[in-house]
């Protein structure tokens, strides 16, 4: 059993960090995990992506042609990676920065205005955690509690003051999806 999650967006959106949070949570839950970043000459404002592979046996390829899950934080990421998602997979899309809907009909889609939600919490930079919360409300490979525990355990001391804000963003993202389920 192996799950592959591709997280993509602008540099500065916390794409690599969101992947690391998942990777820490997977490790602490006793899984094998590989976190693989795009490490080209990219920088803030450019594109960034990372792949997180979670498995229960030795992980083979660190690169994945067809991930089961795509978290697209901006429009170029959706354009580039939507065609690559495995049929039956899941796309979590940040509607705040998209000019179009997800077109694939053979995948599940969760669309939420992550920037808007993060701004309502007071910090647009938390959009990555809002997206992660939304993912965890639908995909049950890891629980929200496990991810929160991973943040607490691995956030460096100088960032621990942001723990509560990260929790709130995760919960707000999950709440968006719970809201969708009711409607």
């Amino acid at each position: 059993m192996q799950t592959e999650i591709l997280i993509a967006g602008f540099g500065g959106q916390g794409v690599l960090f969101a992947g690391q949070v998942l990777a820490y949570a997977a490790m602490d839950a006793g899984h094998e995990v590989t976190w693989f970043p795009s490490y080209g000459p990219e920088m803030r404002g450019g594109t960034a992506n990372c792949t997180v592979i979670i498995a229960d046996e030795e992980i083979g390829s660190p690169l994945v042609a067809h991930p089961q899950i795509l978290m697209a934080l901006n429009a170029p990421s959706l354009d580039r990676f939507e065609p690559q998602v495995k049929p039956g997979g899941l796309i979590v899309a940040n509607a705040s920065l998209l000019q179009r809907e997800v077109q694939r009909s053979d995948v599940q889609t969760l669309s939420l205005r992550a920037n808007h939600v993060a701004e309502s919490l007071g910090d647009r930079r938390m959009a990555n955690m809002v997206m992660l919360g939304a993912l965890l409300a639908r995909w049950h490979g890891l629980t929200l509690a496990q991810v929160k525990a991973a943040l607490k355990a691995h956030l460096p001391a100088r960032k621990q003051h942001l723990l509560e804000a990260n929790y709130q963003a995760l919960e707000a993202g999950a709440a968006q999806i719970e809201e969708l389920k009711k409607n």
């Binding site: 083979g60 660190p62 690169l63």
Partner: protein, 369 residues
């Protein structure tokens, strides 16, 4: 044991510190710079020597000097840096002092790019430098294996008084995986009987790679070669996966090997009896184990992130007993498992003839892609 999530470059650096490295000299180059960066912070914390040299040429000569004192010493770089270090590496080998060199390979030749590659295979298996010597070369395929091999590399370097390369590629340097780090080892204090460091109260020792009399140099060459033969007999390392009933065997090292593992599992799920043989020591090369497989398997598939550099060693090991197919990606391209799976299927559907030229067939295929 607690696991930590570490980037390959950082994990290799910390593993070296845990293994008791006394001194690190280096010069930054992507995709290994985090290794040097970690050393710059941690070595002073531990009261050990860190120096960012003005060039790779300077760095390797600092490694040379420190090695002559019996210190545990290392450097790390990528292909262009190995090229610059070549002369110094040869001097280290000629002087018969131990050193560990990490090569996090990138796309080349020339400046190339910073993407993952295995293009330095032929360069490192002959130690990059001139003259008659072989280094030990170890090739990890995961962050944990990189940690384990770094830990061993220092012991091997000292045991055989040789250069030990640990060759990773950009993806292993940049990826994060959980690792169990070894405990901090005591830094060794007893100076080896050959090391220099002040001759008060004893006869002076002389370390050099300059032997003007050929008959003396030949004796040194023979001594180096005998040590190498010992390493050849005792230090072969590899991993096998699903080989017990394998009709077809994929052979790949490092990242190419783990990509192939995904493909082998997918092929198995489709009923193809295929296994993976992953060389971990590239020198000494697991020649005997491959020869044994060649006598049992119907066909081999060699997968590399270069133009078939290890292929030649597999061919030599197989001695024509088994037909061989080759698949490579070059220039910083990393194969996806689907590509390797297609190769396995092609191999199983129509094994090549023993007379085929694997590289020629692959080149023709690439021209069509």
């Amino acid at each position: 044991m607690t696991r930590e999530l570490l980037k390959g470059n950082v994990a290799m650096a910390e593993a070296a510190i845990r293994a008791g490295v006394d001194a690190y000299f280096g010069y930054p180059i992507t995709p290994q710079s985090e290794l040097l960066e970690w050393m710059s912070k941690r070595m002073p914390e531990e009261g050990r020597a860190f120096l960012q040299a003005e060039s790779e040429v300077a760095a390797i000569n600092m490694v040379y000097g420190a090695a002559c004192t019996g210190a545990r010493v290392m450097t790390s770089t990528s292909g262009p840096g190995i090229s610059l270090m070549a002369e110094g590496i040869s001097y280290i080998a000629g002087t018969e002092v131990p050193a560990v060199i990490v090569d996090v390979m990138r796309g080349g030749p020339g400046l190339g790019n910073i993407a993952p590659s295995q293009g330095d295979y032929r360069q490192v298996i002959h130690g990059a430098g001139h003259g008659d010597f072989f280094p030990l070369v170890l090739a990890p395929a995961s962050v944990q294996e990189a940690v384990d091999l770094i830990s061993e590399a220092f012991d091997l370097a000292e045991k055989y008084r040789t250069v030990v390369f640990v060759v990773a590629d950009g993806s292993i340097g940049q990826m994060m995986e959980p690792v169990t780090l070894p405990p901090m080892r005591e830094r060794k204090r007893a100076r080896p009987e050959w090391a220099v460091g002040g001759a008060k109260g004893r006869a002076p020792r002389r370390l050099t790679s300059l032997y003007l009399k050929p008959e003396v140099e030949e004796r040194v060459n023979l001594r180096i070669l005998r040590r190498w033969r010992e390493a050849e007999a005792h230090e072969v390392r590899y991993r096998g996966y699903h080989l017990d009933d394998a009709a077809y065997v994929v052979i790949g090292f490092g990242t190419a090997g783990r990509v192939a593992l995904s493909a082998v599992r997918a092929a198995r799920s489709e009923g193809i009896r295929v296994g993976l043989f992953r060389p971990v020591s590239l020198r000494p090369f697991p020649t005997q184990a491959i020869r044994q497989l060649a006598s049992q398997a119907k066909a081999f598939l060699v997968v590399e992130m270069n133009g078939g550099q290890m292929l030649e060693d597999v061919q030599a090991a197989a001695q024509g007993q088994v037909p061989i197919r080759f698949y490579g990606r070059m220039g910083g391209m990393v194969p996806f498992p689907d590509e390797v799976l297609a190769e396995i299927k092609a191999l199983a559907a129509a094994p090549p003839s023993p007379a085929d030229d694997p590289r020629g067939r692959w080149l023709a295929q690439m021209a069509q892609a």
